[in-house]
């Protein structure tokens, strides 16, 4: 631990790198020289979260729940299995729970202790989700937090905050917007934002088509 306090000073010769760039580069170099990591594995991990595992997965889950009452029931009862039926299972989505917004209650998800987040349905968490401001305030001032996302709920709407303190990962199912009766599931999924599935947003209204 003692090197923690002075470690930043060791990379001053790498002037063209920021301290963290230099630090991670040094670590990767050591690990690769020792044969402990495969740099190509890192490329595959990055590509997976850049192109394959992201909030479109969760949006498809929500759209299916909106369109198919039987699937919504399954998602309520056993989100892990219901989501696995769409193949969106895996790391940081091993134990899933879906929580449904309705006219009475709005759900908001946080991890006050670290950065727990349902990667398999939402991808990697945004910076703000992992940062102290959101983690400190979501549990004590959720309306203030929502206002910073441009979301104002009716005064009588209850707010339920889910602090992800164990290994359960939460997906918020937002309310289905009005005027979406004729849309297929891919069009419905377009309305489901990442923030709506965390609870810091609402589903989008459909575009008015002429």
């Amino acid at each position: 631990m003692s090197h923690d306090h002075d470690h930043d000073d060791h990379h001053h010769h790498d002037n063209h790198f920021s301290p963290m760039e230099a630090r991670v580069r040094a670590l990767e170099t050591i690990l690769a020289q020792k044969g402990l990591i495969d740099p190509k594995a890192i490329d595959v991990i990055v590509e997976t979260y850049e192109t394959k595992i992201g909030p479109r997965n969760g949006a498809r889950v929500v759209a299916k729940a909106w369109a198919e009452p039987d699937f919504a029931d399954w998602l309520k009862r056993d989100a892990t299995e219901a989501i696995a039926s769409l193949s969106y299972t895996g790391r940081q989505g091993e134990h899933m729970r879906a929580v449904f917004n309705d006219g009475e209650t709005h759900n908001l998800v946080v991890c006050t202790l670290c950065s727990c987040y349902p990667w398999s349905v939402l991808g990697l968490p945004p910076v703000w989700y992992k940062a102290p401001a959101y983690r400190s305030r979501a549990v004590i001032d959720p309306r203030g937090v929502l206002a910073e996302f441009g979301v104002t709920l009716p005064d009588d709407r209850k707010i339920r905050v889910w602090d992800s303190t164990a290994e359960l990962r939460y997906l918020v199912v937002p309310e289905r917007p009005a005027g979406t009766e004729g849309l297929d599931q891919e069009a419905l999924a377009d309305l489901v934002t990442r923030d709506a599935m965390i609870g810091t947003g609402l589903a989008l209204a459909p575009l008015v088509r002429s």
Binding site: M1, S2, H3, H7, S18, M20, E21, R25, A26, L27, E28, I30, L31, Q33, K34, L36, I37, D38, K40, A41, I42, V44, I45, V46, Y49, E50, G54, G90, R91, G93, E94, H95, R97, V110, L113, S115, P126, V127, W128, K130, A131, P132, A133, S136, R137, V139, I140, P142, E148, F149, D156, K158, I159, R160, V161, D163, S164, T165, E167, L168
Partner: protein
């Protein structure tokens, strides 16, 4: 531990800063930080609970000023040294100086899809019935261990209701310190905002945590 990570209810940490169209990574080093962290996790030398505790042990001023990938990298350096894979001197010099510990496995590119798809489930069977049922009134314990716990400070010594029995899971307070998985029942416990925050609590607010059985006492 009552570390810098236990942030629920703290004031003064500023407004949330949502970033429109946020990119997946903010710079190349974040990609490498993610990949290196996951690759080293695959060694099988430490648990997710030990890695969380390593992050919690970052000095508070550093922790609060760091981005989350920086938190990961600082903790990873601690874990790699603790388990003999890398030395402090190697970190300073930025190159291999000696052969270190042998991992159980090295994550190769072709293994990545299967490893990510499998994840690391941590539900474990227990041979005793849950102590509490849905609807039970419970009080969280008051304690202040210097070791790892997943009971946040704001939710200690509070009365709430068991909403759901969620299953039995590895107990992080033990597992983080190499004391075994010792699985316990986990419950979603709901508290009224007023029970947690008292005067001035946001109206209509409830907060839930997922609590291991030993965090709870009957009321």
């Amino acid at each position: 531990m009552n570390g810098p990570h236990d942030l629920g209810g703290q004031h003064g940490l500023g407004p949330v800063a949502p970033e429109p169209n946020e990119p997946c990574f903010h710079g190349e080093w974040e990609k490498r930080a993610l990949g290196v962290t996951l690759s080293c996790g695959a060694f099988g030398a430490w648990t997710i609970d030990e890695s969380r505790h390593a992050r919690e042990n970052i000095p508070p001023a550093t922790y609060l000023a760091a981005s989350y990938y920086e938190i990961w990298i600082r903790a990873l350096e601690t874990l790699l040294q603790r388990h003999g894979f890398v030395s402090a001197r190697e970190l300073i010099e930025g190159r291999m100086l000696e052969k270190g510990a042998e991992p159980k496995r090295v994550l190769k590119a072709e293994m990545v899809p299967a490893v990510l798809a499998k994840g690391g489930p941590c539900d474990r069977p227990v041979d005793i019935a849950p102590r509490f049922a849905a609807g039970a009134r419970v009080r969280t314990r008051t304690f202040n261990p210097t070791s790892h716990t997943r009971l946040p400070r704001y939710a200690r010594g509070k009365e709430g209701v068991v909403e759901t029995v969620q299953g039995s899971f590895v107990f992080p307070d033990d597992n983080a310190h190499g004391k075994g998985e010792n699985p316990q029942w986990v419950y979603t416990v709901v508290f009224d905002g007023g029970e947690i925050w008292g005067e001035g609590a946001a109206p209509g607010l409830t907060v839930s945590i997922d609590a291991w059985e030993s965090y709870l006492e009957p009321v």
